[in-house]
Each structure stands twice: as structure tokens, then as C-alpha cells.
């Protein structure tokens, strides 16, 4: 390390230093003993002053070293829902040559810090932590504060690791108990009783017959059973569902309207997820914005994303003509109607 880099490191503005109450008390005690030593000439007091000053220096150096070369990262789950605890993994890596002790990491917004008692040189210590995002939308954690009062708590030194990444928090899906039954379940509720068609959903597996499309061969089962097995696909007819959310804020709406709106967004999310789980190709109608019906994990995330970002508007939505085959489920602050 060059002299310049050493000097730069010494003057590193990134390290936050705070003298604790204990530290202030210790400095005050040292001053009092120093004054007493100077006034009395008592070498016992001089021994104490020297020792206290030595301890101050050691404490300052060790506390600084203890928070240097520490990198920290926070890894979260792919889906976050507002108000629901999500498991994050916090990793602290010690890039220094000496162990780091009593390292505390505080995630902005969290009440309590997380303790890493000892992180050996070159080691990475990880901890799981449940974080709750109270509101949906694009949320950032702002920062991670890595700090330590080690060794003797005279100083608290740390470094803020800003988190630039924004996380999309989906609305917490409310459980909707009274969804109108799927018209396709008229055949007795067995999903396999869906009409045959060319939809992506597999309705049944059966032995291949003459005229079957070779693209429908289910190769794993064919290999397992030693004969050609084909997939029988379900029809997509009657599967499309649309959750329509009323986002228009009536003029002069009371402040309670916003809370009701958030509840309706949660309901819409719950409804959409339940419809998807039921096998419906589900879409969203958010005021004027339409998310066409679809299925699959990517579409599911798309729906949740749209619901996470939706906000109330001041003008009512223009009427839109929808195909008759699409089942529309309405959600809004006024109530839900199918």
C-alpha cells in the first residue's frame, strides 16, 4: 500500500465516528485524573492518566480496524408482499486479515440490529432476517449501517452501505372467500373434465392414437412406459377472467377512501391469484389500463407488478367493451361485484 493510499485511508470520510456516553464519561474521568495528577504530582495518578490515554488510543484504533474492509449484502426473496414478513439473508464478509468482532448491522427501518459475534478473516457470515414492508410499490431499503462499539464501547464506528436497488413490493393478497364458481367446473368439479382443446394446460395423458399431433407426445412418460403417450390439452374457451379494479377517486372522497382503496388492491391481488390458481387465464383492468388475460408464472408476476404500482386517478375510467367469454370480477373501494 502506498503512502498516498494510506493517508487517504486515514482520512476516509466513509467511516462514521460517534463518541458514546461511556466514551464521554471515560474522557471526563481521564481529564479529572489528569488535573489531579498535575496538581498533586502523584505519580500513581500519572500512571492512571497514561493508562487511560493508552486505552483511548487502543480503543480508537481497534474500533476503526473492526469496521474496515467489511462488505455487506442483503439478499431477499423474489416476491415481497406488503405487510407479510419476508425472509432476507444478510451476509457480512470480512476482507481484512484480522477477525472482526461484535459487528452490528442495522437495516434502515428495522428497530433492532443484527449481531455478528465474530467474522474470521476472509469469512462470510450470514444471518436470516424477516423484513416487513408495510406498503406496496417500489420500495428501497435505503441503507445498511454496519457499526461496532468494539472493543470497549468508547467509540461507535461504522459505515453506511447504501442500497441503490429498489424492490417491488406486491400488495398483500387478501383471501376472497366468495368467488363465483368456475363455469367450467359444471362437469363435477374435476379439472380434467374441462373441454378438450389446444390450450397450454394439460387435461390428461393417454396412449397415442392415430392422428395425434407428434408435438403432443409426452416424452418422459413415453420413455418410462415404453409406449407413446400423448398429452391431452384443455380448451381455453371460458377460461379468461378479468379482475377490474376501480381506481377512480371520487371528488371529495374522505381520507378513509385511501385505506379502502388499498384494501381493494389487496382484494384484487387475492382474487387474481386465486383465479390463476384455479386455472383461469387472468387479466386486470385498472381504470383505463388493461392487462390482457394470461397464465403462467411470468404473467402472474406481471399482474402483481401492475397491482403493486397502481394508484388512484381523479377521472373515472372510460367504458370498455369486453368479450362475452371473459368473466369479469370487480374490486374497488365501494365493494366487489362479479
Amino acid at each position: 500500500m502506498t503512502l498516498r493510499s494510506r493517508l487517504k485511508k486515514l482520512a476516509d470520510p466513509g467511516i462514521l465516528v460517534r463518541v458514546t456516553n461511556l466514551g464521554l464519561g471515560f474522557i471526563l474521568l481521564t481529564l479529572v485524573v489528569a488535573v489531579a495528577a498535575t496538581n498533586t504530582g502523584n505519580n500513581g495518578l500519572y500512571i492512571l492518566v497514561s493508562l487511560f490515554l493508552g486505552a483511548l488510543v487502543v480503543s480508537g484504533v481497534v474500533s476503526r480496524r473492526n469496521v474496515e474492509k467489511l462488505s455487506v449484502e442483503l439478499e431477499g426473496p423474489p416476491e415481497l408482499y406488503a405487510g407479510i414478513p419476508s425472509r432476507f439473508t444478510l451476509r457480512v464478509t470480512n476482507g481484512g486479515r484480522l477477525p472482526r468482532r461484535a459487528v452490528l448491522v442495522k437495516i434502515s427501518g428495522a428497530a433492532a440490529p443484527l449481531l455478528f459475534g465474530r467474522v474470521g478473516p476472509g469469512e462470510t457470515a450470514s444471518r436470516g432476517v424477516d423484513l416487513v414492508f408495510p406498503k406496496r410499490g417500489l420500495r428501497s431499503l435505503e441503507s445498511l449501517l454496519v457499526y461496532s462499539g468494539y472493543p470497549i464501547g468508547l467509540f461507535r464506528k461504522g459505515r453506511v452501505h447504501p442500497l441503490t436497488e429498489e424492490r417491488l413490493v406486491y400488495p398483500a393478497p387478501a383471501i376472497v372467500h366468495s368467488i363465483p364458481p368456475d363455469p367450467r367446473q359444471a362437469e363435477g368439479g374435476d379439472p380434467r373434465s374441462f373441454l378438450r382443446g389446444r390450450g397450454p394446460e394439460i387435461r390428461n395423458l393417454r396412449d397415442a392414437g392415430f392422428g395425434d399431433d407428434p408435438r403432443d407426445v409426452h416424452w418422459p412418460q413415453t420413455a418410462r412406459q415404453g409406449k407413446f403417450i400423448v398429452k391431452e390439452r384443455a380448451s381455453e374457451e371460458g377460461r379468461d377472467a378479468l379482475v377490474a379494479l376501480d381506481v377512480a377517486r371520487p371528488p371529495g372522497a374522505p381520507s378513509s377512501w385511501d385505506a379502502a382503496f388499498e384494501r381493494s388492491v389487496s382484494e384484487a391481488a387475492g382474487l387474481a391469484l386465486q383465479l390463476l390458481a384455479r386455472g383461469n387465464r387472468t387479466g386486470l383492468l385498472l381504470g383505463d389500463a388493461l392487462v390482457p388475460p394470461g397464465a403462467g408464472p411470468a404473467h402472474r408476476r406481471g399482474l402483481l407488478r401492475a397491482l403493486a404500482l397502481v394508484g388512484p386517478t381523479d377521472r373515472p375510467a372510460a367504458p370498455r367493451a369486453l368479450p362475452a367469454s371473459v368473466a369479469v370480477f370487480r374490486a374497488g373501494p365501494k365493494g366487489r361485484a362479479a
Partner: protein, 713 residues
């Protein structure tokens, strides 16, 4: 973590209450211990405090943290007010002790009534105050290990304390993390405390001193009541004689051998009035050269062998000086002001300072091999005053056995000395005073006494026969130091003897009438006593260089530092000039050629340093057997020029070995195989395999010596 129940009072207890009460309690328990040894605290008080605190901590450890109700605290506070008054007025009668009692009382009650976070901080501050009081009132070297002990305990407590404070919002983290609970750990604790101590040493030396250092006060059983004061009652012996405290530390240029006589004359008392010896009336004069120079005491001041004497305070102005001393020089460091460094020499050649030193004084005395005689005899010393007693005269006549004291004073004195050295006279260190007829009683009835009794009796007997004699006190003998050329002179080396006027040619001659049993010797102590000698030496060193360390020591230290710096600068300058001249010669007198040669030299040095630093290290310390042999194999190849480092892969090592032919490659392959098996397969080599590996390495080395590397381009 179990905290004290606070729900009953509605006040939430501070987090980690039990742990913190125990931690601060352990400090509070340790903090006042030295106060007892420094006589600042009575044993009973300390025991009561320890008992009360011990009970509190034991109860805290077992069950809920005790918390005295407010009314008990108020009542105790009110009840203690009159105690403070009576303690100060009739009890300890010392403000320090009263304040310490109050501090102890407050500490116990504060710990027994922790309610808030602030109470814990106050308890910590109280413990710190007790610790400060302990160290500031202790003057024994044992306070240093105590400070180290407390530093270790306090560091441990504070490390945990800091964490407890930080985890106030997440106490479960403490329970979860075992590594945190094990903090600070032995290694970090020792290194941190050692680093703080190491930093404290230069700080102690350079922190500004504005006042003279406070030194040891009178301690029980250590009083120096007589012996070196202006008047000495021969019937009363100072407690010093029974003390083993080191009074002088003498460092000699020449080795002092066991059996030699080391007699340090401190005070010659010439006047005997009303049963008491007194020093000459006139206090003496200041000889020339006393201010920082050599004070002449004999004919050849400053020549001869030098003895450096460190003298602890004797409660006297007198300076002990070896018999036959020629010159004396005071160390500047012993005096805050040069004006105080005055030496007075009186008619009886007593050497004294103008004041009673309160700190250790250092001075150097020179003695020649053939010391000059003391031929000075003032009118006052002619005084033959003594008790007018027929018993004395009769005893003297018998003792002289026909010798005419007027014609042969030395012979008469020798005869008298011989009488005292024989039966029935014997040595007895009985310190009880004997009353007005002590001398007659000693000569005719008791015939036993200590050195003062003998010296006083002999001086008075000689005086009764018309021979001038004086009573001398000082030190005789000592312990030869376990290490180095020094002698420790203890309190029990204090002695008294006689100086007799033996005519104008011989002057004053020393006689020692005390029987041999009462004459301390210069001796080497047995091995068993060496340890004690070492500890005494440490204590003396502590007294001199820690307790008595003051402004003058700092000035002297800085002067030496400056001298050393300027000396080093001169040496560098000289060396530089020498190198410059040599280079100029090399360059045929041309400066640029010399500069070029210097630059070349510097470049070569830099290159050598760089090469040295970048050299791969092939240490085998701590490696398992096969890995160690493999590392040696790499080292051998590296020395032969192979570009290997300890981190080179086995294949690279094998390739490097193969360059030296098959004879080298085969044993190298066996070693590499064993290494791979051990490092990556987890197999450890057996004893037999270890031996085989050693042999294989030797085979490889011999093959390496024979082979010639094949360079692969």
C-alpha cells in the same frame, strides 16, 4: 437472559440488568483492595464492604436482582449523615478515610438499588473512583500488578458492557451468538491491555510534571526514629535496625566482593550532653564546586573508583558516604532546582544536604585505593566531654592493660576494642531503653548490647582516659546484588562505630567495638533469598523511577535524548563525509562521478532490499510431515533457480524436479505423491513414512547436487 422483575413497580428494568450488576460488582469488589494495604482503609471496614457486596452479588447470581425500596435508601442516607460527622470527628479522624467510607457505602447501596440505566452508569463511575483512590494512595510496587489485573477485568467488563448497550433493543441476539458471549477472548484481551500499557509508558514519561512528586509517607513499623538525626540517644535504637527495607542501592565500577568491608559513614556526633550524642554545633560550610560539580572530600577529589548511590529518604539531611571518600557529585535529576543541590561539610566531615530529601537522591562518590587520612581536628572535636564516672575510669584502666593512652591512643583504643570483642561481652539487639545508668549497667552487669551501646561506651571510655573520640552512625555491609555490580543496603545494615583521634600523623581512625555477631557483613545472599532481593530491587527501582519521577528526571531524559540525537547526527554526518570522500576518490576527484557511484550504490541497496522482500518463504512451521518435506523440496529447487513459490502446484514442482534428471525426479515424485495424499486425501503419514520421506528428501538433495538443470526454452 433473566432480568429482574420490574412489572410490580411499573418500571421496566434496564436490559441485561443481572449481567451488568455482576460485572460492575466484580469491579467494585476489586477496586478498594489496595486501600487497606496503603493504610487508607481499616481492615474491618474493607471486610464489611466485601461481605455486603459479596452477599449482594451472590444473591444476584442466584435469583432476581435485589432492589432496595426507596424508603430504605432514604433512611440509610439519613442515618449515614451523623456517621459521616462522627467518623470525621472521632472515628478515622481523616477526611480521606471518611470520604472513602462514604464512597464504599454509596457503592453498595447504589448496586443494591439499580432502577434505571443511569444507576448502572453511576455504579460504574463509583467503582472507577474507588480504583483511582486505590492507585493514588498506594506507594508499593505491588500496585502495578494490581493495575494490570484491574485493567484486564475492566477491559473484559467494558467489552461486554458496550455490547449490552448496543443490544438493548435486541437482547435475544446476545443469547443467540455464542461468539459474542465469549468476547473479548484471551488473545485480544492480552494484546489490547499490553498495547495500552506499552502506550502508557512513554505517556507517563512525557506528561508534564508541574509539582514535585508525592512520595511514600511514614508507614507503620517503618519509622526511622533515630540514628541519623542531629541528636542520637545511644540507649534508643531506631526501628530502622529491625527493618529489611532497602535504604541504599550502590552501583560500583569495581566489583564488590563478599567479605570486603563496606562502611558508609553517615553522621559523626562529637558532643555528648545529658546522655545524648550531638553533631557539631556549626552546620558546616559549602565547599567549592558543590553546584553540579565534584565536592572535594579528600586530597584527590574526582579520581579513583566511582560508586553511584541511590538513597531513599532517611528523614535526615546526612548523606552516607563510604569511608575514605575523596569526592562527591550530586545527580542533577535528584533536585528540582540546582540551587537546592548544595552540599555542606562540617568539622567532623559530615556530609549533608541543606534539606531533608523526600525522594530518592542519587549521588556519585569517588574513592581512591589509598584513601587519605582524616587529619582535621577542630577545637570542638577536642571536646572530651562525657559522664564523670569512676566506674568508667576503672573499666578503662583495666581495659588498657598498662598502655598509656596519652602516648599510644591507638593502642589503647585497640585494647578496648579487643575487650568488647571478647566474652563476656556479647551482642544483643534489645531495643528497650535502660535508663540513666545504662552505660554503667552495660559495662558491669548486663555486658550485652547493640552497636550503639558499644560505640557509645567505647567513645566515652576513651574520652574518660583523655583520648578524643566520636560516635559515628552509618551503614555497614550489605547484600551483593543477584545481577550486576550493585549492593543493596537494608535497614538492618545500619550500624554505629567509633572514630578515635590517634595523633596528628594518623588522624581519626575507625574502631568498631561491636562483637562480630553484631557487625553486618558484605555478603552474597543464598539462592533462596535471591528472589526477595530481586523483588526488593524492583521496589527500589519503582520508588526511584516511578514514584519519585519528576520534572528533573524529565529534563535529564530530554537532555540525554538530545545528546543521543545530536551524537547520532554527528556520526551520520561523519559517515556521510567519509563516504563522500571515498566516492570522490573513486571518481578521480570529480564530484559527478562520486554522485553517480552513490546513486548506483543506492540502487543496488534498493534492489537487494526488494529482492529480499519478494523472496518466497518456505517455512515449514506447523505443517504436517509430508507437507513440510514437500516445502523443503520446493525450497531446494528454488535455491537452484527454479521459479517456484510455496503456492506452486505439485505439477510445477515435479516439472522443476524433472529438469534435474531421473535420479531427482523419482524421489521428488514420491514426495509430491505423499504431499498430495496428505493435503487432499486427508491421510496423515505414519512414523515409518515420515522416516522414509526424510530419506527420500536426502536422496533428492544428493541427486540435485549431481544433476544439472536442463533449461527448457
Amino acid at each position: 437472559m433473566k432480568d429482574a422483575p420490574g412489572a410490580s413497580t411499573g418500571v421496566l428494568p434496564p436490559p441485561f440488568l443481572r449481567e451488568r450488576v455482576l460485572a460492575v460488582g466484580s469491579l467494585a469488589l476489586l477496586a478498594p483492595v489496595p486501600l487497606f494495604f496503603a493504610n487508607a482503609l481499616e481492615l474491618l471496614v474493607l471486610l464489611v464492604y466485601v461481605l455486603a457486596l459479596g452477599l449482594l452479588l451472590a444473591r444476584t447470581r442466584r435469583g432476581p436482582v435485589p432492589r432496595l425500596p426507596n424508603w430504605v435508601l432514604n433512611l440509610a442516607g439519613l442515618a449515614y449523615l451523623p456517621v459521616v460527622y462522627f467518623d470525621a470527628r472521632y472515628g478515622s479522624r481523616s477526611l480521606l478515610k471518611t470520604m472513602l467510607h462514604l464512597l464504599l457505602f454509596t457503592t453498595v447501596f447504589k448496586l443494591a438499588a439499580i432502577r434505571k440505566e443511569r444507576d448502572l452508569s453511576v455504579a460504574l463511575v463509583l467503582s472507577a473512583m474507588l480504583f483511582v483512590a486505590s492507585v493514588s494512595t498506594s506507594f508499593h510496587v505491588a500496585v502495578l500488578p494490581y493495575v494490570v489485573l484491574v485493567a484486564g477485568v475492566a477491559w473484559t467488563v467494558l467489552v461486554k458492557w458496550a455490547l449490552w448497550r448496543d443490544l438493548a433493543a435486541a437482547p435475544e441476539e446476545w443469547e443467540r451468538d455464542r461468539a459474542a458471549r465469549a468476547l473479548p477472548g484471551f488473545g485480544p484481551l492480552v494484546s489490547s491491555v499490553a498495547a495500552a500499557m506499552a502506550l502508557a509508558v512513554p505517556l507517563f514519561l512525557f506528561l508534564p510534571r508541574l509539582k514535585a512528586p508525592v512520595v511514600r509517607g511514614g508507614e507503620t513499623g517503618r519509622e526511622i526514629t533515630t540514628g541519623f538525626s542531629d541528636t542520637v540517644d545511644p540507649d534508643v535504637f531506631g526501628a530502622l535496625k529491625n527493618s529489611d527495607r532497602v535504604m541504599l542501592r550502590i552501583t560500583s565500577e569495581e566489583p564488590l566482593d563478599a567479605g570486603a568491608v563496606l562502611r558508609l559513614r553517615t553522621l559523626a556526633l562529637t558532643r555528648f550532653e545529658r546522655g545524648v550524642w550531638k553533631r557539631p554545633e556549626r552546620s558546616g560550610s559549602v565547599p567549592p564546586g558543590t553546584r553540579g560539580g565534584v565536592v572535594p572530600l579528600g586530597p584527590r577529589p574526582g579520581s579513583g573508583e566511582a560508586m553511584t548511590i541511590d538513597l531513599t529518604p532517611l528523614q535526615s539531611r546526612a548523606l552516607p558516604v563510604p569511608a575514605g571518600a575523596d569526592g562527591l557529585r550530586l545527580a542533577e535529576t535528584s533536585f528540582r532546582s540546582p540551587s537546592r543541590a548544595l552540599v555542606f561539610v562540617d568539622a567532623a566531615r559530615n556530609v549533608s544536604l541543606g534539606f531533608e530529601p523526600e525522594t530518592t537522591v542519587q549521588y556519585t562518590v569517588t574513592t581512591s585505593r589509598r584513601p587519605g587520612r582524616d587529619l582535621g581536628r577542630s577545637d570542638e572535636e577536642d571536646g572530651l566531654a562525657g559522664p564523670d564516672s569512676e566506674t568508667l575510669r576503672a573499666f578503662a584502666r583495666d581495659a588498657f592493660a598498662g598502655i598509656d593512652p596519652a602516648a599510644d591512643p591507638e593502642g589503647a583504643a585497640r585494647a578496648l576494642e579487643g575487650v568488647f570483642h571478647r566474652e563476656p561481652f556479647r551482642y544483643e539487639l534489645d531495643l528497650a531503653p535502660r535508663g540513666p545508668n545504662a552505660l554503667e549497667d552495660f559495662l558491669t552487669v548486663r555486658r550485652a548490647g547493640h552497636c550503639q551501646t558499644y560505640a557509645s561506651a567505647m567513645a566515652l571510655l576513651l574520652r574518660s582516659a583523655g583520648i578524643p573520640a566520636r560516635f559515628v552512625t552509618g551503614f555497614l555491609g550489605g547484600e551483593i546484588g543477584a545481577f550486576g555490580r550493585y549492593v543493596l543496603v537494608r535497614g538492618n545494615n545500619v550500624h554505629a562505630w567509633v572514630e578515635v583521634w590517634c595523633g596528628p600523623e594518623k588522624g581519626w581512625v575507625t574502631f568498631d567495638p561491636t562483637p562480630a555477631a553484631g557487625q553486618p557483613q558484605l555478603e552474597r545472599v543464598p539462592l533462596s533469598a535471591r528472589l526477595r532481593q530481586v523483588t526488593d530491587g524492583i521496589e527500589f527501582f519503582y520508588d526511584r523511577f516511578v514514584l519519585s519521577f519528576g520534572q528533573s528526571d524529565q529534563a535529564e531524559m530530554l537532555r540525554r535524548l538530545r545528546e543521543a540525537t545530536s551524537g547520532a547526527a554527528q556520526a551520520l554526518k561523519g559517515a556521510g563525509a567519509g563516504v563522500g570522500a571515498a566516492l570522490a576518490r573513486l571518481g578521480g576527484g570529480r564530484a559527478w562521478a562520486g554522485a553517480g557511484a552513490l546513486a548506483l550504490l543506492a540502487a543496488l541497496v534498493a534492489l537487494a532490499i526488494r529482492r529480499l522482500l519478494s523472496r518466497a518463504r518456505f517455512g515449514t512451521r506447523g505443517l504436517p510431515p509430508a507437507s513440510a518435506v514437500y516445502r523443503r523440496l520446493q525450497k531446494a529447487l528454488h535455491r537452484r533457480g527454479a521459479p517456484l513459490t510455496p503456492s506452486s502446484a505439485p505439477a510445477e514442482t515435479l516439472a522443476a524436479a524433472a529438469a534435474y534428471g531421473r535420479a531427482a525426479a523419482e524421489p521428488a515424485a514420491a514426495i509430491v505423491k505423499a504431499y498430495v495424499r496428505e493435503s487432499f486425501g486427508g491421510f496423515s503419514a505414519s512414523e515409518e513414512e515420515k522416516k522414509k520421506l526424510g530419506e527420500t528428501l536426502e536422496r533428492f538433495r544428493s541427486a540435485l547436487g549431481r544433476g544439472e538443470a536442463v533449461r527448457i526454452s
